[in-house]
């Protein structure tokens, strides 16, 4: 039982069926308009082809492409152990059978999202702004919400529905174009059939097709966004259950909504964010075309929960919005849970810490100066030393040096080159450059004897300073 909420499954099946039906209808209309009367089936085939091509594009442009488009960098446990710990905690709380990857986006607007069709490619991404603005409980709430998206397979269904929506919009545009330019109708055939009665029937079909072409995309969008909003509420409900602390998510949502969003993302991924990155700060109202429910409503529901279980969320949801959210079967199975106390821990990373982590990820080399200042040099920097920005004295950029006199053994291939050597200065984060110029980071907990350069593949011996 990967998916937790049965009503959710039913709803997604309904959504996919309805969208599929709409897609077929649009295709049929396109055929009638574009290829002449009676050619609806051709249109149907066109619709299918468009859908399949879009699906193929989406599958080919995997998560990594989307993430790279947003400037997200994958984190390893050493980069941010506390963030990793929080993700793992929530993975355990949700019973998710796999550990999602963790990505960091360098952006001051606090936001987060989940992505992934398959366990292997699933990822949770957070912005740097989120890390230093939220305390641990709040961040935990946000991560729990994202993990809930993965657990409920929202990432899967919403992207599939998104592809369908895109195809429907494309078909509608195609139909309009064909209407304007007359489509592929063979002139002779349409003239030969222009008897008065069949002409009238044709006109009616044409009119219906036009109406479908206009309404189709609108209906599809309303369906899509309604489902998206429902799933946001459900992810909130699950997050409260996982963390046993609804207040964490509530205050995180408030904080995120209070900060103007400066994230540039495509519309396709907007529903996956915790708060819609495309809407302005708090200027959101509930409309048929919004991906997320208004934040104040979500906060209101979370704050009026009596406990922390799904049943409590359902009761609060009914009180604030009216109508039910979670199906009876899942509610019956849901355990009664009481909320826990706040952990009282502050932000998991400070602003300078976060900036340093981002620079490390971007391959910056840090060069400490005797005056206490630290210069950070980007990866492509030419030259062996840098002037300290405060006292002006030149400092050598730490790099790995060839070990001993074995350097002449360096043959043509990179792997056979003599091993390089780097002397560690202390137990903190250290960055240095390989002979090829690529920068290499060592975490405080690194205790191995050698590392391998990611670019040239050369081995570098690491010696600990005594």
């Amino acid at each position: 039982m990967w998916e937790q909420i049965r009503a959710n499954q039913r709803r997604s099946a309904l959504l996919i069926t309805l969208m599929g039906g709409l897609l077929a209808l649009m295709g049929y209309a396109l055929g009638e308009v574009g290829f002449g009367p009676g050619a609806g089936l051709i249109g149907l085939a066109v619709a299918l082809i468009i859908f399949l091509v879009q699906l193929a594009i989406y599958y080919a442009a995997a998560e990594s492409v989307l993430l790279a488009g947003m400037g997200a960098r994958e984190l390893s446990r050493d980069d941010m152990p506390r963030l990793f710990n929080i993700v793992e905690e929530m993975k355990l709380a949700s019973g998710l059978p796999f550990m999602p990857k963790v990505y960091l986006i360098d952006n001051p607007s606090p936001n987060a999202f989940a992505i992934g069709r398959k366990p292997e490619t699933s990822a949770v991404a957070v912005t740097s702004g989120l890390l230093y603005r939220l305390n641990r409980d709040e961040l935990q709430g946000v991560i729990a919400h994202e993990i809930a998206h993965l657990k409920n397979r929202d990432t899967h269904f919403m992207t599939l529905a998104g592809v369908m929506l895109g195809s429907i919009i494309m078909l509608s545009e195609l139909t309009w174009r064909m209407l304007r330019y007359g489509g592929f109708r063979a002139g002779s055939r349409s003239r030969s059939r222009s008897g008065s009665s069949s002409g009238q029937a044709q006109l009616i079909i044409l009119l219906v097709a036009v109406v479908v072409a206009i309404l189709g995309p609108i209906v599809a969008q309303i369906l899509y966004f309604a489902t998206s909003r429902k799933r946001e509420f459900l992810a909130d409900a699950c997050a409260a259950q996982y963390t046993r602390y609804p207040e964490g998510l509530a205050s995180a949502l408030e904080r995120i909504a209070a900060t103007p969003s400066r994230l540039v993302v495509s519309k396709a991924v907007a529903p996956m964010f915790i708060v819609n990155p495309l809407s302005g700060a708090r200027g959101e109202t509930s409309s048929l075309f919004s991906t997320h429910p208004p934040t104040f409503e979500r906060v209101c529901i979370l704050r009026s929960m009596a406990g922390a279980g799904l049943g409590d969320y359902e009761a609060a949801y009914r009180a604030v919005r009216g109508g039910g959210l979670i199906g009876g079967a899942s509610l019956k199975a849901a355990p009664i849970v009481t909320p826990r106390a706040a952990s009282g821990e502050g932000p998991i990373e400070s602003r300078p810490e976060t900036r340093m982590a981002i620079q490390r990820l971007a391959g910056y080399v840090s060069v400490p100066c005797a005056c206490g200042m630290e210069a950070r040099v980007p990866e492509g920097f030419e030259g062996d030393s840098v002037r300290c920005p405060r006292c002006g004295s030149p400092n050598p950029i730490p790099g790995a040096v060839a070990a001993g006199v074995a350097a002449q053994a360096g043959a043509d291939t990179g792997r056979q080159e003599a091993p390089l050597e780097f002397l560690r200065r202390g137990g903190s984060w250290e960055t240095f450059r390989c002979g090829c110029g690529a920068s290499i980071q060592l975490s405080p907990s690194f205790c191995g004897a050698r590392v391998r350069c990611g670019r040239c593949g050369r081995h570098i011996n690491v010696k600990q300073a005594a």
């Binding site: 506390r82 905690e89 355990l92 709380a93 355990p335 849970v337 903190s428 405080p444 907990s445």
Partner: protein, 189 residues
């Protein structure tokens, strides 16, 4: 012909449908039980991780606060007990002790600024705190699943199938929350 048809229907209703029902219930119970075993394994992983971290922590603290011998010994003792535990009930008991001992160790460490500034100690502290959290969250999930499983095997008519194939009731992984039960101590000095 009609009598053959009725015969088929009778056979289907009497034998095939119940058999299908039993198969479905049995399979769902097996799924639930495996899920339960798996979530127990998740707790186990975290408990082991905690046991592995503790010797490191003790070594680090020793360097700065050697005369807190009593506290350190308590931690080691609790850890060894936890490692030796066999059943979930025993494990729960020992882990409670260990949690308490660790709490007092971290409380004691507050008095040593040098220790608090040690990178290694800070990393260990974060790891241990998070491992505690992970144990708590894994336990939370385990107990939720245990409840679902227990309810399922006790409910009619699934209990018949459960009895037939000996699906036994499972115990929860309980934790005494002393901090909650004890009244806060207030001292006027």
């Amino acid at each position: 012909m009609a009598s053959v048809g009725i015969g088929v229907i009778v056979i289907v209703v009497l034998f095939v449908l119940p058999a299908l029902y039993v198969i479905a219930v049995y399979n769902s119970l097996v799924t639930l039980r495996n899920e339960l075993d798996n979530s127990w394994a998740q707790i186990d992983v975290q408990l082991k991780r905690r046991h592995d971290l503790i010797p490191n922590l003790v070594e680090t603290v020793k360097g700065y606060a050697a005369h807190e011998r009593e506290t350190l010994e308590k931690v080691i003792q609790a850890r060894n007990m936890a490692v030796a535990a066999k059943t979930p009930a025993q494990a729960a008991e020992a882990e409670n002790l260990l949690t308490g001992a660790l709490k007092s160790l971290f409380a004691v460490s507050e008095a040593y600024p040098d220790l608090k500034a040690n990178q290694n100690f800070l990393a260990l502290q974060e790891e241990l705190t998070s491992t505690e959290n992970k144990i708590a969250f894994a336990r939370q999930f385990f107990n939720d699943r245990t409840m679902t499983y227990n309810t399922r095997i006790q409910q009619f008519p699934a209990n018949i199938v459960a009895g037939m194939f000996r699906f036994a009731k499972r115990e929860f992984f309980e934790v005494r929350e002393e901090a909650v039960r004890e009244a806060p101590k207030v001292s006027f000095k």
